[in-house]
Symmetry: C2
Subunit: 386 residues, 2 copies
C-alpha cells in the first residue's frame, strides 16, 4: 500500500476508534513536510492533485461539481450546509440514525432552519415509506442523511433514499454526512444525484484530523453563489469556490491560509487509496468487517445494528456482555495495546463499545490482532460465553 518512505513510525498503542484511525508511514511523513508557502509552486501542485483526486474519491466526473478542503473538522461541514444552502425558515428533513444526525439538526437550527427530525429505532435505518410520506407532506429545501452514524455503526442506503427523494421531491437538495463513510462505503455522488457530501480527514480517508472536506453539485454551488445574505465568513462557499477553482487550475489564491502539511498528507493518502480501485477497497473493508463481526458473534457478543444488512463496514458498535464492567474491559484492551471507544448514543451510554476498522489497520492486519485482544480481555474480566 505504501511507497518507499524514509520514516517508520515507532511502535505505539494502536488507535482503533472510529476516527482518528491509524495512519500509514508515508502519510505521517508528509505531515512533517518542510515549510512551503501556501502559494508556492510546490504546494499549488500538491493541492491541485488533491482536488483532482477528490473528484475520483466521490466517483464524480461532473466538472461543474466542486471539491473543497478547509482547515477544520467534520463538524464545520455542517456549518457550511447551514450557512450556504439553507435560508432562514427553510424546511429541512433530517433522517436520524443516531447522535451525529441529531447534532447536524442542532447545527442547522443555529442557521434558522425549520428542522423536522425523523428518528429511526436505535440500531436501524429509517423505512423508505416513512421518508416518502414526509416528502409528500411538505416541501423540504434539503434532506440530510447520515451515511454512517458513528454513534450506532448503522449504514443508510443512500441510493435508495435518493431514489425516493428524486421521485417525491426532486427539488430537495440531498445532503450526505459521509464522515464515517467516504473512503470505506460506496458513494456515487453523480450517479445517485447527491448535492452535498461532507467528511473529515481522520476517518477512512486516513489523514490526521484537521481538515473539513466536502463536495457540492452544480446546483448546490449555484445556490451558494447566488445567496443574497451570507451567514458565515470562514464557512462561506462564495469565498472558497474561487480559491478551490484556482488551485485545481494550477494557480494560488488566498482567502485563509490552508493547512499545507495536512493537505500534503491528504495528497499522499489519496494516492494510496486510488492505487487500488475504490470498489476493491470497499470490498476489502466489507470482508474484514464481516470477519470481525463474525468473530464477535462467535465469542457471544451482539452488535448494536439490528442486523448485518444495516451494519457499517468501517466500524462496529458492540454491546458489552451482561455482567461485565465495561470500563474494566476497555482498560484491559488498552493494556494490550489498542485504544477502542466507549459508546456515545444517549440512550445506550455505558452499554456498548465501538471499534474502528478503516484504512491502514484493515491492510496491516490490526483487526485480527484486536479481535484476539478482545477475547483475552473478556476472559480477564470474567466473561464466559453463554
Amino acid at each position: 500500500m505504501s511507497s518507499p518512505c524514509p520514516y517508520k513510525q515507532p511502535e505505539h498503542k494502536l488507535t482503533m476508534i472510529p476516527g482518528p484511525i491509524e495512519f500509514s508511514d508515508p502519510v505521517l511523513y508528509a505531515m512533517s513536510t518542510p515549510s512551503q508557502a501556501h502559494t508556492s509552486p510546490e504546494f499549488i501542485k500538491t493541492f491541485q492533485t488533491t482536488l483532482q483526486n477528490l473528484r475520483k474519491l466521490f466517483k464524480s466526473t461532473d466538472s461543474k461539481a466542486q471539491p473543497y478542503v478547509l482547515a477544520g473538522s467534520g463538524t464545520l461541514g455542517w456549518d457550511v450546509v447551514g450557512a450556504n444552502l439553507i435560508n432562514p425558515g427553510d424546511k429541512v428533513l433530517v433522517l436520524s440514525t443516531g447522535f451525529f444526525s441529531d447534532s447536524f439538526a442542532e447545527c442547522l437550527k443555529v442557521y434558522d432552519a425549520n428542522v423536522d427530525v425523523i428518528t429511526a429505532e436505535v440500531g436501524n435505518v429509517l423505512p423508505l415509506d416513512k421518508i416518502a410520506e414526509k416528502l409528500k407532506s411538505e416541501k423540504y429545501t434539503a434532506i440530510t442523511i447520515t451515511h454512517v452514524d458513528t454513534s450506532t455503526a448503522v449504514v443508510s442506503d443512500i441510493k435508495a433514499i435518493s431514489d425516493v427523494v428524486k421521485k417525491e421531491s426532486p427539488e430537495t437538495l440531498i445532503v450526505v454526512d459521509g464522515v464515517c463513510s467516504v473512503g470505506v462505503e460506496n458513494l456515487e455522488f453523480d450517479a445517485w444525484g447527491i448535492d452535498f457530501a461532507l467528511t473529515a480527514s481522520q476517518k477512512a480517508i486516513g489523514v490526521p484530523a484537521g481538515l473539513s472536506i466536502f463536495y457540492a453539485s452544480e446546483r448546490a454551488v449555484t445556490k451558494a453563489l447566488d445567496r443574497k445574505k451570507d451567514s458565515s465568513f470562514f464557512a462561506s462557499m462564495k469565498k472558497w469556490t474561487p480559491i478551490m477553482k484556482a488551485y485545481e487550475g494550477g494557480s494560488g489564491a488566498y482567502f485563509a491560509t490552508p493547512a499545507v502539511q495536512t493537505i500534503t498528507a491528504l495528497k499522499v493518502s489519496l494516492d494510496e487509496i486510488l492505487g487500488e480501485s475504490l470498489d476493491a477497497r470497499f470490498a476489502k473493508h466489507e470482508e474484514i468487517s464481516t470477519q470481525f463481526k463474525n468473530h464477535l458473534a462467535k465469542s457471544g457478543l451482539k452488535i448494536l445494528p439490528i442486523n448485518e444488512k444495516v451494519a457499517a463496514h468501517g466500524l462496529s458498535a458492540v454491546y458489552f456482555p451482561e455482567g461485565i464492567n465495561g470500563a474494566d474491559f476497555l482498560a484491559k484492551v488498552a493494556g494490550k495495546g489498542f485504544t477502542i471507544a466507549g459508546g456515545i448514543h444517549k440512550a445506550l451510554v455505558g452499554k456498548y463499545f465501538r471499534v474502528g476498522h478503516m484504512g491502514f489497520s484493515v491492510y496491516e492486519g490490526h483487526v485480527d490482532k484486536l479481535a484476539k485482544a478482545i477475547d483475552e480481555a473478556l476472559a480477564e474480566v470474567g466473561y464466559k460465553k453463554q
Copy 2:
C-alpha cells in the same frame, strides 16, 4: 532552541513570507506523531500543557480568562468574534491599518455588526486623538485593532489604544487581531485589559497552518456564554468553552475532533518559545528586524511603514526600487532558495514585497542569508543604488 530530535528536515527553499514561516525539526517531527485518540491520556496531557502554556504566551495569569485552540485558521478567529461577542446591530469600531483590518470588518458585517472603519494613512497607525474622538461620539460594543497588519507591516500600539478605550469607553470590548504579532511583539493580555486576542499557528508561534488560537477575558467569555441566539455552531464559544476547560483540567471531552498532530506540534513549539523569556524573544526579534531593515536602507531600499517606530518586528514590507521588475526580482530571490511574498495592500499591489522574519529563521541565521540574496538579486535585475 531545540531538544534532541531524531528527525532532520531536508534542505529546501526557505519560506520567509509573513507566514507560514519555517519550522524547527522537533515541531515538524511532532506533526508525524503516530495516531492518538483525541480522548487518549497521551493527547489529553499534550493538550493540557498546550493550554496552560498559551496562558503564558498571552502573559495572562487570570484563571477566569480562557485559551482556545480550534482546527481552522486565523480567519476563523474573526468569525468567533462576530458570532459570539457581537449581537446584530451592535456598533463596532474597526481601526484599519491595512488589508487584514478591512477583511475583519467585512467578516463582522456578515454577523450584522454595524461597523465604523477608520483608516490610517497607508504605512501609518491611527492617531490616538482620532480614536478617542470616535469613542466619545458613539457607544461601541467592541473595538478591533490589528496589532500587526500583515499587508503593511505596521504595528499598532495596543497599550496606548487600550488606555484610550479604558478612559473614554471602558465597557467597549477590546479585540486584538494578533495573527502576525503573538509570539513576536509584546502583548500583555491581562495588564493591558484586552478582552479577546486571536492568532494562528503558522506565524510567530512557529507551527504548520491549521489552528485558530484565541484568548478571551472573563467578560468576553461571560458575554459569549450568556448569548441568547447562537450565530455559528463550529465557531461557538458556548460549545468550545467546556471542552477547553475539560482538557486543561486533565480530562477529555468532545465537540469536534481536534487536530491531534498539529496541537502536538503546538505543544512542542510553545515549549521551545517558553524555553527563553518572552521578553528575550521579543528583543531578539527586534534586533534581527532592525539589522535587516538597516541593511535594506543601506542598499537604498525604502520600507512601507512611514518610520521605524510603527514598523513591525516579525516582517518587513519593502518598496521595489524604481525601474526594476518586481516579479523578476522575486523570481531571482526564489532561485537563490528563498520564498518571499508580493504585496497585497490594494493601493500598492505590485509596488512592494514582504519578508517574514519570525521564529526559527530568526534563530537560525536565515535572515542574514536572505539579506545577501536580496542584494544579489537586485544587482541581477539591474538595480543600482542611487
